[in-house]
């Protein structure tokens, strides 16, 4: 009754078990719900922050009331709402104390004072000092018989771009960040799951039973495929919910860009997952207990974290950042950085293709190395297996 077991069947059997065990576990459903909740909160938070127009209240005394119009214009130029009320000096100070006013402007030219409670909002400060400074210059110009408006016209710089400004840039930015976050989460989450699975089999000793019937490399391949499929499923579910939600709420008006971002996210997830899962599995195989796992998988997170932070902090302001472009070609960094650049529309197709090719090449190398470490370490219990032992070409 024991038919020979082709390697492909062994791998598929292992993958199926991993997929079922993972998706049936409570942590999968809970994790998915929590992630959706976090995404929802983020969207609400962004909307809330976006709806907050920065506004200030300023009190002026009869002495400074003449500046009222100029201040209002200055605030408008900075895209800020400024509510100005005229009050007496004493009343004004009291209102600042009570929090009804952010600041009170008193004094005469040469001895203006901006009174705040314990601090004055820096942008309000900038508006006021800008207006007063300009007023002083204008006064001096008029005394010298020059028209300030003429000077202002001469000093004006018009801003224009050679290529049309992308009206969807904001949306692309959000897409890029969402893609980076999703990839980072999936790679770290499911990479860690692979390492945990390897250690679980070592801790429970079931690995010895498994390896008496299948080859270590088949067990490893099955585990990576199974968990990778779960990660892909989660990625697709989250993206579908995210896409549907943001299209329904009108947050997203560029479905084609979103669709291509999704496709690239899936491709990069697969590439990144095979690369990192192999590393995670090899790392997991060198320890015997879950407690030891943290210390050994933490360093693996750095090459994921660096491009992720780069993608969400530097790229939004400077999508064509040279360092970012260079880093996006390095295989360990490509999976989070390149799709973010692509989503922002600053990565030409040849760059993406080159990064994919480089990553594929490194996957081959990394998987071969990881398989060797895994094979040498997975049956050893007790002390952590040193890298030298793990890499030795043949061990019984």
């Amino acid at each position: 009754m024991n038919a020979p077991l082709p390697p492909g069947r062994a791998v598929l059997l292992v993958a199926r078990r991993e997929f079922i065990a993972q998706t049936r576990s409570r942590s999968f459903a809970v994790g998915l719900l929590i992630t959706i909740a976090i995404f929802g909160i983020y969207i609400l938070l962004f909307q809330f922050i976006g709806s907050q127009t920065s506004s200030n209240t300023l009190g002026v005394t009869p002495q400074t009331a003449a500046l009222r119009e100029a201040l209002q214009a200055g605030a408008q130029a900075q895209d800020r709402t400024l509510t100005i009320t005229e009050v007496g000096h004493e009343t004004g100070e009291q209102q600042v104390r009570d929090g009804d006013l952010d600041a009170l402007l008193v004094g005469v030219p040469g001895s203006y004072k901006l009174i705040g409670l314990d601090t004055v909002d820096s942008s309000l400060q900038a508006i006021v000092s800008g207006v007063i400074g300009q007023r002083a210059v204008n006064d001096a110009l008029m005394q010298a018989g020059v028209d300030p408006a003429q000077i202002a016209a001469q000093g004006h710089v018009a801003v224009t771009t050679l290529e049309p400004v992308d009206p969807e840039r904001g949306q692309r930015l959000v897409l890029a960040i969402v893609v980076a976050v999703l990839l980072f989460m999936s790679l770290v989450g499911y990479g860690t799951a692979v390492a945990q699975g390897v250690v679980e089999e070592k801790t429970s000793r079931v690995v010895e039973l498994l390896l008496s019937t299948i080859k270590p490399v088949h067990l490893l391949a099955g585990k990576i495929l199974g968990l990778g499929a779960v990660g892909l499923l989660q990625l697709l579910v989250l993206s579908a919910i995210g896409l549907a939600g943001s299209l329904a709420f009108g947050l997203l008006t560029i479905p084609t860009a979103a669709a291509s971002a999704l496709v690239s996210a899936v491709i990069w997830y697969l590439l990144g997952f095979f690369l990192y899962a192999a590393i995670y599995a090899a790392a997991g195989s060198t320890v015997s207990r879950q407690e030891e796992l943290q210390t050994i998988v933490a360093p693996i997170m750095f090459p994921l974290l660096i491009p992720f932070i780069f993608a969400v902090s530097v790229l939004p302001n400077d999508p064509r950042n040279t360092l970012g472009t260079v880093l996006s070609f390095i295989p360990l960094f490509s999976p989070t950085l390149m799709p973010a650049r692509a989503a922002m529309g600053v990565a030409p197709l040849w760059q993406v293709g080159l990064a994919v090719a480089l990553t594929l090449a490194s996957i081959v190398g990394v998987v071969l190395l990881a398989a060797r470490i895994y094979r040498n370490s997975v049956l050893r219990t007790g002390a952590r297996v040193s890298l030298k032992e793990a890499l030795s070409p043949r061990r019984g």
Binding site: M1, A10, S204, L209, L211, S212, L379, R395, G396
Partner: protein, 298 residues
């Protein structure tokens, strides 16, 4: 025949196995005994291909064991291992499939063995929810679900209650009767003596004795039990006879230098009435102690 032929294995500075050789015939239960660290587990792991030997070969039906053959061995590792959070039935079915059994057959086999081993009611439970004894039964089921041609069991009896020992015993006997060579290790020497057709004793990585318990006995010195007059009256004067122990009226003597058992009996009868005179059959425990200590001295 399962042949373990000249297996050696070294772990760093430790020579774990040195030229270990023995064979287990189809239909035979072979007891593998030895102290902790003597090399039992290492030998079994090498048979299963979980470890690689430095030298030597393991053969089944005259052919070296390869991956396809290994899949037809039933194995119970010393370190019990099952997925703690997987259901008993799913787990056994999975293991059967990994051994190449077709799905429908795997299900039927899981049902058959869990029933036989008395854990059929727990098929829907996670392994971690079972008592250790029941986990042990599941572990044995895992070694049997793919209808193996050879059984290799490392300490299958440890932690079992007397009922479970009887169940295990009858399962092993049935498998052996169906032509399967069964090899198991154990520290419970009385059990080994009772169950096994042949015994192998390993000490310090070397096989120090292989054979039936009776065969092992022939190597040991001749001893007789005499229930009768106190030894001072007859034994001390006989050449080549030493008194080993005296318990009440029972005297155990050891015969050396060709001393005749008939001379002993005559001398005892001359001293008084003899109620019992018989050759002492040392239990495996004694034989084991003798070989292991003499092996260590050599």
């Amino acid at each position: 025949m399962l042949e373990i032929d000249g297996i050696s294995k070294r772990f760093g500075p430790v020579q774990a196995l040195q030229d270990v050789t023995f064979a287990v015939r189809p239909g035979e239960i072979f007891g593998f005994v030895g102290s902790n660290g003597a090399g039992k587990t290492t030998t079994m792991r090498i048979v299963l291909g979980v470890l690689e030997a430095d030298a030597g070969e393991v053969r089944w039906k005259d052919a070296p064991i390869d991956a396809d053959m290994r899949r037809r061995i039933g194995y119970m590792p010393e370190e019990r291992g099952l997925y703690p959070k997987m259901k008993v039935g799913d787990q056994l079915e999975y293991l059967a499939r990994l051994h190449g059994v077709e799905p429908a057959e795997a299900r039927a086999s899981v049902e058959r063995w869990t029933t036989r081993l008395g854990v059929d009611a727990r098929r829907g439970d996670e392994v971690q929810k079972l008592s250790l004894g029941n986990q042990q039964r599941v572990q044995l089921s895992a070694a049997l679900v793919h209808d193996p041609e050879v059984l290799v069991l490392d300490e299958p009896f440890s932690g079992l209650d007397p009922t479970a020992v009887e169940v295990m015993n009858s399962v092993l006997r049935d498998k052996a009767d169906s032509g399967v060579p069964v090899i198991f290790s154990s520290h419970q020497l009385d059990l080994v003596e009772r169950l096994c057709d042949r015994v192998g004793i390993i000490s310090g990585g070397r096989m120090v004795a292989v054979g039936t318990v009776a065969e092992l006995r022939t190597d040991s010195t001749e001893r007789f039990d005499v229930v009768g007059p106190p030894p001072a009256a007859w034994a001390h004067a006989l050449p080549g006879v030493t008194v080993v122990s005296v318990e009440g009226t029972r005297t155990r003597v050891e015969l050396t230098d060709g001393a005749s058992d008939q001379d002993v009996l005559r001398a005892a009868l001359a001293a008084g009435p003899v109620h019992e005179f018989r050759r002492y059959q040392p239990p495996l425990t004694d034989l084991y102690r003798d070989v292991v200590t003499s092996g260590a001295a050599a």
